[in-house]
């Protein structure tokens, strides 16, 4: 069964360092997302991406964050200068079509980011 894969599963970094989280969405999916979950809290939307550009982003997704699809298969989230409060599980997700149609969103297993 096709699945969304994410690497690394866990990354520990020093505050101020750059981090890149990688995702391989399901191959025939067109919409890509990043969500995050701070321990014990809700799953929060960060950004959606379609046709090689950002469709929508939340208030959390400030100038420190960026996304790209460098090679047609990988979908990456970059945090330029990490802060302590960026520590969270980051989930990549993909869907074939947007909500309102067959819009099931499929998630990866997550990348745990710990900022020290």
């Amino acid at each position: 069964e096709p699945e969304v894969t994410q690497t690394p599963s866990h990354q520990v970094t020093q505050m101020g360092q750059e981090v890149i989280l990688r995702c391989v969405p399901i191959s025939n999916h067109l919409y890509f997302y990043w969500y995050r979950q701070i321990l014990g809290q809700k799953v929060e939307f960060l950004v959606s991406f379609y046709n090689n550009e950002i469709s929508e982003k939340s208030e959390i997704f400030d100038d420190q964050f960026s996304v790209e699809r460098p090679d047609g298969s990988n979908f990456t989230l970059k945090i330029r200068s990490t802060k302590l409060e960026d520590s969270a599980m980051y989930f990549c997700a993909s869907s074939r079509l947007a909500g309102g149609y067959t819009g099931e969103l499929f998630f990866g297993e997550g990348s745990r980011l710990t900022v020290l």
Binding site: V43, E56, F91, A98, G99, G100, E104
Partner: protein, 110 residues
């Protein structure tokens, strides 16, 4: 701005009984609703969904009900099994955006 709310942070149910998880939303533009199950340190797993043109969708032990006038949806699990113990998130979607509730931790007691 909590557009999707799950007001019960936790729920305990005896094995074999019905589990009812509730979710409320505020934005009438949402047109697709989903339920996800999540275990610790894993990604959310899709369970069942419903379009806004329907009021009920069933898949095995799982049934989702949608009351658009009340902006309320619920997930029924019958019969509940110990393996159903997890955190359940509802989500509401419109166009590109999926908004998740805060989750309800279900514990099914053997």
């Amino acid at each position: 701005d909590q557009q999707v709310k799950q007001n019960s942070p936790s729920l305990s149910v005896q094995e074999g009984r019905i589990s009812i998880l509730n979710c409320d939303y505020t934005n009438s533009m949402f047109d697709y609703f989903l339920w996800y199950k999540k275990y610790p340190a894993e990604g959310p797993t899709f369970l069942i969904s419903i379009s806004s043109i329907k009021d009920k969708n069933e898949d095995g032990r799982f049934t989702v009900f949608l009351n658009k006038s009340a902006k309320h949806l619920s997930l029924h699990i019958v019969p509940s099994q110990p393996g159903d113990s997890a955190v359940y998130f509802c989500a509401a979607a419109f166009l590109y955006k999926y908004i998740f509730g805060t989750g309800t931790r279900l514990k099914v007691l053997a």
